[in-house]
């Protein structure tokens, strides 16, 4: 066992931390988040040039990393800067599915994704599917050499700026079956694809997508017909490691801002950090953040294990990070008082993102239930 970062990852961490600290102050982040695209293409190009997108892909796919700890190291630092560029949508999610299922032709898109020249999004979740990974009601039916897709996709990250979409649809089975889920790689401007983009409360961009008789060629199918589910599950496992790591960065920023405030804000003639009621709550926040960090390390390290152990570790991390993230965000706001209710102050923007991470790819309740199911399956 070894809990130190390899030299390469320590360098990656330092590089991202420095770049974000120098180039991504909060005012700049607001400006970027409020722009039409919801992210900065210029910034994205710089991230690509630094090799940060490549760090999320294996060498085989043209990257130079792609392991759990590459994801966790990078996303923790992105979290600290509240970075809004589409690492998750384009690289981890869409890129992750293409990497697992794509043929040589389809995988050629990865080079452009890694270089930052093309953007991809992952259209999987549906309006009444909540977090269930197999809840695909969008249909795909096969004609002679074409497929026709019909259905709706919900809260798809960064779809309104994507060049490519990875879309899931069902060729057979009931709405909740794992079998029968297909994935397609299609241009976002394909006829019949209607994308309605909107901002999210934490400064990101997402879209509702409707697919109306969308005709795609056979060559758009990723992998075998009806067999995409395991790749979807794996891509979302990696996404959850990324989100949990991002939450660690956010938690530590919330902690540090709050600590600074406790030392400087005076009431009753003393810094409010002198009050035991606040000291003990802050000590709990510190202790729990260590637990969240451990859960993320466990999940990142266990991504290579067999399915049940991998998914249990991911659900553990997402549950604990969800619980502790909420604790940190709510305590940070409460201990600040009124100032934390203002747009102008820094803290609430970190707190908003921290809370909203629980709404991506499974909240505390979902992952708790999933962990229990996986444990039962393992015991059987």
């Amino acid at each position: 066992m070894d809990f130190t970062l390899t030299e390469d990852r320590a360098m990656l961490k330092d590089m991202v931390a420095r770049f974000v600290a120098d180039n991504y102050p909060l005012e700049k982040r607001h400006e970027i988040a409020e722009s039409t695209d919801g992210f900065s293409r210029e910034m994205w190009a710089q991230f690509a040039e630094l090799g940060l997108i490549g760090a999320l892909f294996s060498e085989e796919d043209g990257g130079f990393g792609g392991a759990g700890f590459d994801i966790s190291v990078l996303f923790e630092e992105l979290g600290r800067g509240l970075v809004v560029e589409p690492f998750l949508a384009s690289a981890i999610l869409a890129g992750g599915v293409i990497s697992q299922l794509g043929d040589d032709e389809q995988k050629s898109a990865l080079a452009d994704i890694i270089a930052g020249g093309r953007l991809a999004a992952f259209a999987h979740g549906e309006p009444d599917g909540r977090y269930d990974l197999s809840a695909v009601k969008t249909t795909c039916s096969k004609g002679e050499d074409r497929w026709t897709l019909n259905g709706n996709k919900a809260v798809v990250l960064n779809a309104d700026t994507a060049d490519l979409l990875v879309v899931t649809a069902r060729s057979s089975g009931d709405a909740w079956d794992e079998d029968g889920v297909c994935a397609f790689l299609i241009p976002a401007d394909t006829d019949g694809v209607e994308i309605r983009g909107y901002p999210t409360i934490d400064g990101l961009r997402a879209s509702e997508i409707s697919l109306n008789n969308v005709k795609v060629p056979d060559s758009a199918l990723l992998g075998a017909e009806g067999k995409a589910y395991p790749a979807v599950e794996m891509a979302i496992a990696r996404a959850n490691v990324a989100l949990c790591a991002e939450s660690i960065g956010l938690m530590e920023v919330c902690r540090d801002i709050t600590l600074e405030y406790l030392k400087t804000r005076k009431q009753f003639g003393v810094p409010i950090g002198k009050f035991q009621a606040l000291q003990h709550r802050m000590a709990t926040v510190l202790t729990e953040i260590e637990q969240a960090r451990s859960a993320v390390i466990n999940a990142a390290g266990r991504l290579t294990l067999d399915r049940i152990d991998r998914e249990k570790a991911v659900s553990t991390a997402k549950t604990l990070c969800g619980q502790i993230g909420r604790l940190v965000a709510e305590e940070a706001i409460q201990m600040h008082g009124g100032i934390a209710m203002t747009w102008e102050y820094s803290l609430p923007h970190f707190a908003k993102r921290l809370i909203m991470i629980d709404h991506q790819f499974g909240d505390v309740d979902y992952h708790m239930a999933r962990y229990i199911e996986l444990s039962a399956a393992q015991a059987a």
């Binding site: 066992m1 809990f3 000291q279 000590a283 709990t284 202790t287 960090r293 451990s294 859960a295 229990i372």
Partner: protein, 398 residues
């Protein structure tokens, strides 16, 4: 980052398993795993077996007979020992006093006392708390007044764990009332058979005799039994409280307790189905499993981190808080898992050799008593509120 054991660590684990398989008496592990009470001989016996193997002092420097294990090896030893049903090692001499002796004791004190701790000649107990000095330990009042070559000690200590078995006690005593309370405290080693010492049992809420009161009435203690300098005892006392961190989170024991809870939850029935399938119960169990899984990594991470020495105080506070919270959650859920059979309490059933038919399931007898007994863990060793205070001051500068 690598969460897997290295080849060397796996080989070490195998060596530990082989040792436990060969040397841990089955009669003893049976007692531990079924929650029976241990006798002094049980505890001393395991101490001796470990000492013969050279595996007793995992926190000592090698020159004094320590094992030289790193944090991962210590955890492997702990996990394997707990899983096999080894008794906990009696910590008072080995883990509490010895680090103080090694850091602050004279050569003569080290040469005399350390070997006696290892070979079991001395059973130490701790004289810290007093009736009026609990969380506010520095307010202690037991007086030691210099009289020629002796200190004359008067006062009372309390919560003295297993003092009924001890022949020695290390004590915090007041040698000055000037300045801050912390500045007038000294650290004394006292023979329990010195005239003027009286030990009285305190029976705990679940009926066991685990702790005692110790009274000192004109007890004469040779001055050479002072550790370090007079009035510097607070420094040594704090060192003692933070030094032994390896085991403070009790991860190994908590894993065993959780496995036992799972076992019980599979056997208990709710509406004809195993309790473990009940959604409410399953959720509580899952929460503990998740917390402990993270805790196991937190423990190793903090103990093997390079700044663990600098941050020993607050880090051990974090481990203590979280480890004890998880243990109490396990005890609580185990109690509830039994339903009405948590109630019957035949005290003799917890002694080895009791051979009557159990009341209810055979695993039920110790459960409620353990729950009540373990309410102590968030209180002793500096209550968890005191630990939060330490984190606030030392880690956050509040």
């Amino acid at each position: 980052m690598d969460l897997n054991y290295s080849d060397e660590e796996l080989a070490f684990r195998d060596e530990v398993r082989k040792f436990l398989d060969e040397e841990l008496p089955k009669s003893l592990s049976d007692k531990v795993l079924t929650g029976k009470r241990l006798t002094r001989d049980d505890m001393q016996g395991w101490h001796d077996i470990l000492n013969n193997r050279g595996w007793l002092a995992d926190g000592w420097p090698e020159e004094y007979g320590g094992t030289g294990w790193n944090a991962v090896q210590k955890q492997i030893f702990e996990d394997e020992s707990c899983a096999a049903g080894a008794p906990r090692i009696i910590p008072f001499g080995l883990k509490m006093l010895a680090p103080v002796l090694i850091k602050y004791g004279s050569d003569a004190q080290k040469d005399y006392y350390l070997p006696r701790i290892l070979d079991g000649s001395d059973w130490w107990c701790q004289g810290y708390s007093e009736p009026g000095a609990g969380s506010d330990l520095a307010s202690l009042k037991t007086r030691a007044v210099r009289d020629g070559d002796h200190y004359v000690v008067n006062g009372q200590k309390t919560w003295t764990t297993l003092g009924q078995y001890a022949n020695k006690i290390f004590c915090l005593v007041r040698t000055s009332t000037e300045g801050k309370p912390q500045e007038g405290i000294s650290f004394l080693l006292i023979d329990m058979d010195t005239p003027g010492i009286t030990v009285r049992p305190i029976i705990l809420l679940e009926g066991t005799h685990e702790v005692n009161e110790v009274f000192f009435d004109d007890v004469r203690v040779p001055v050479e039994n002072l550790i370090g300098e007079e009035n510097k005892g607070w420094t040594y006392a704090k060192y003692l409280l933070t030094h032994e961190r390896t085991n403070i989170a009790n991860v190994g024991a908590n894993k065993v307790a959780l496995a036992h809870l799972r076992h019980i939850a599979k056997l208990q029935k709710i509406r004809e189905k195993p309790l473990i399938e009940d959604p409410y119960f399953a959720q509580r169990l899952a929460q503990i499993e998740m917390d402990l899984d993270a805790m196991s990594t937190t423990n190793l991470r903090l103990l093997s981190s390079p700044d663990s020495v600098a941050n020993a105080g607050p880090m051990s506070s974090m481990l203590k808080i979280k480890g004890t919270e998880i243990r109490q959650a396990i005890n609580d859920l185990t109690r509830r898992a039994l339903g009405p059979y948590a109630m019957p309490f035949v005290s003799e059933a917890l002694d080895a050799g009791y051979n009557q038919e159990p009341i209810g399931p055979d695993y039920a007898a110790p459960v409620a008593a353990d729950y009540f007994n373990n309410r102590k863990i968030t209180i002793y060793g500096g209550s968890n509120e005191i630990q939060r205070g330490i984190i606030s001051k030392m880690m956050m500068g509040l």
